[in-house]
Symmetry: C2
Amino acid sequence: MPFTPITAEQRFVLDHVVRVRELAATERFAAASDDVIDAVLEGVGAFAAGEWAPLLRAGDTVGARWTPEGVRMPDGYAEAYHDYVDGGWGTIGVPEAHGGQGLPFAIQTAVLDTLGTANMAFALCPTLTVGAIEALAHHGSAEQQRLYLPHLATGAWTGTMNLTEPQAGSDVGALRTTATPLGDGTWRIKGTKIFISFGDHDMAENIVHLVLARTPDAPVGTKGISLFLVPKFRLDEDGRPGAANDVRVVSIEHKMGLHASPTCVLSFGDHDDCVGELIGPEHGGMRAMFTMMNNARLNVGLQGVQAAEAATQAAVAYALERVQSARAGGTSRDAVRIVEHPDVRRMLMRMKAQTQAARALVYYAAGQVDRAGSGDARARGRLELVTPLAKAHGTDLGNEVASLGIQVHGGMGYIEETGAAQFFRDVRITSIYEGTNGIQAADLVGRKLALGREASGGGVFAELIADMRDEAQDARLIALIDACEATGQALADASTDDRLAASYPFLTMVSVATCGWLMERQGRAATDDAPFMRMKRACVRFYLEQIVPEALGLVAAAQAPADVLYAVEAELFAE
Amino acid sequence: MPFTPITAEQRFVLDHVVRVRELAATERFAAASDDVIDAVLEGVGAFAAGEWAPLLRAGDTVGARWTPEGVRMPDGYAEAYHDYVDGGWGTIGVPEAHGGQGLPFAIQTAVLDTLGTANMAFALCPTLTVGAIEALAHHGSAEQQRLYLPHLATGAWTGTMNLTEPQAGSDVGALRTTATPLGDGTWRIKGTKIFISFGDHDMAENIVHLVLARTPDAPVGTKGISLFLVPKFRLDEDGRPGAANDVRVVSIEHKMGLHASPTCVLSFGDHDDCVGELIGPEHGGMRAMFTMMNNARLNVGLQGVQAAEAATQAAVAYALERVQSARAGGTSRDAVRIVEHPDVRRMLMRMKAQTQAARALVYYAAGQVDRAGSGDARARGRLELVTPLAKAHGTDLGNEVASLGIQVHGGMGYIEETGAAQFFRDVRITSIYEGTNGIQAADLVGRKLALGREASGGGVFAELIADMRDEAQDARLIALIDACEATGQALADASTDDRLAASYPFLTMVSVATCGWLMERQGRAATDDAPFMRMKRACVRFYLEQIVPEALGLVAAAQAPADVLYAVEAELFAE
């Protein structure tokens, strides 16, 4: 697959959507000068193109393999991962106090965007490490931070998140893994976790498992959950990886895609000798988990952007090369490149516009992480609100664009060797993991819609509506913003069932409105006649003219009560 | 995978959408009594459940394999295919004169629906044979019909369609395979064809390749194409398969799905000894191909229905069994089956409603085949109009529903062993082959919208609008019908570029209107309180309340001119 770094687009989005210069003007992010940002974007682009993109196909065809000695990555992955560590790409967004470069999360997002566009499954490994860093940075003890964070920051050690058990998927509170105090401050961990991405591999010196477990006599449900740090290799007196801990890879899943990401079944404490440390307070696991998962949700939304970008690049390259059929209605009988045919061009324009929209949404959310981290309460609320949008809509768009990518390729798109199918298979999981998109929609209409809301209205949702309305100029976009506001108000007062039944179409409406707002803003900023700017303006126009009106078609569903769903009893669905 | 025959739904759609009793009242279809129809539906349901559904997984995991001696199907396929032949399931829709049962095409559609829901890739083999039968029945000589049709009718011999070449995909006129007269009425065929489904296999006594080729000095483009019959084994004096013809399977494709369907590269005449017969007149290939392909397009639309039904059955079964999380807003803390959660229920309802809608659309078109075949000119026009809708929208819905099927399964949906992923992978090709869905949209706004249209308006499109408006009662549906009419009128007078740029959203709008019309009709007919009827009414309500309004969101795109797509030159898409 061809891979072209997307430096100009990233820089533009950082400037006009993230408004990174506002961040750079603060003491905390003073290091984020224009020159540094450009150097990071160009550097990681060259690195990803040179070292990670060439491994994409082998990741799919060979994939990660289970062996009795642990998981083996395809040839070349370990070396390319070491070069990632040596290049310092893992340290971008980590605070300087923990061995990082202290650049904004939004810059780290751009770095992960590039790496994942080159090779999404591979980039999932550092993505998970970011979650472990966040959890430790916010909830770990000083000693834990000292021992673990510098190695996680470089990526020399990688992180995992261990939530899911066979009976506990979306319902984390149902988990059964236990942690028993050993009397010396450490805990004995016992249980089985499934769906653990990069739960084992041969690229890093150590793997830091963050494991949700239940302590003795803990309350039932989520209130009784605690978070534990369980290293693959216990640390010796010098803080180096020493004796193996009692953690075993039972198997890896046979998945539809993302084959370079080993999805492990991990067994903790088969020999009653799995030792872990508590992170944060006992029974504080859910809070720590949410710290770990919230940014993880943004990073999964970013995977949607990555797949969309990769699929678009492949489809554009094919459409610029493949010659087939004369242009309809034209005078020439000569066959033309398929990019010239209107419906192919429509698909490509849609792919470009939706990819840009998804990127704007996710980067925007990333910018709120940085503002919230500096104590901006309004940004904290905005981040909470847009996180489910970025995760769910970002991945929905990744799926849509990857499917269009196959369609542009015609019959060749269905042949695996072409490569378009891999993006489509790889991205499909992103709508499911880190909280299904349905869970995101429930989060939006449940917790997030009510956030900061008084009886008189207001709150974080009203603030977003107000910000969008202040800036929006396009009549269709304004109509969508109005519809979002009215629907949001109706849902805030609706019954739980009605609210949940309407949650998904509502999430899509609000996401498209947010994207439309950020796209229109970019259109205004794209003032010169450079090729990138001209393409940006065309994408913005297409988005406002065609995609925003589509979202208005969802109003009926977003305002429909739940009763149609319960008009018949569950068993009748089998009729 | 569980597979439940869908007899009640099929019978209901035959009664109220196809209005099969109107057909049975004609002399031609007098055999299609109520009892016969019921016996066929129940019989094929039991057969498919017992013999074809159990082979679904092996079709995917083992798949068809290329060997130097030809393609080998997975174990069990040859036997299950022989039982299909012995059961007479291939003969349903074939005229009695050609060895068939002479039942309506709509009944044959129901039979293929059942077989393909049990095992879509397998059912593609008889589907292709239907195309060969149609081509020979309409364009073959009496001798060709006598020698070939009875064997094709039973399925003892199977058929293929050989159109595509590496440089000639959607642009069939670019093909280069040659046919040279041998002086004895036969022709020497030479060339390479790609993407030939069931181009070879080990289930039938003979394979009848229908091959588009160019005769000496033929005009360029589609006008110079002729259709040839090229048997795998030439017939001996008794009309039995004898000496092998010079047709070789070079390879089979490595596809994302549909692994039980061998997609062959066929080489004709490597040793200059491939002999074929002309079907119909020289240079009459396109006409014969369209005969073969038009019903094939309906049958591909039907594959969308098959995948949707199979995915829905699997998702419903899972949701009725999987217990996870308490019901939000309820008083109980006990976990419930996920079917009880509103957003899961919304997905299931959408799957049910969209599957029913797709089935109504495709069966409706099939009913027009029967009417058109009896000389009803109005039905002929209607069939021409709805064929691209049935093909494109039927397969679009198959893709949508199969994706929802994965989502309902959560993380398990991404694991291949679960089976949900297979439907998603299998159905993806249906939007591409037999004319991409973009080609269908072009056909709709090009040829079909103009069909029978005078300067004063009217024509087949106006007739459909009038029929829908006569019957529609729901205000949203009427609004959509109005929007379709207005958009159709605008497009009929638009430039070629504008028309094509708008073609895909327009196709979706008209398809949803047509489905809405047929769904509403079914809702009126579902009068009693049987479980099937209650579920039908719920699906109709959901369709009218939520899916019809969505299509109104496409009006902007369906009325947008092409200029946004050409605002920048093609190369800028790579920016």
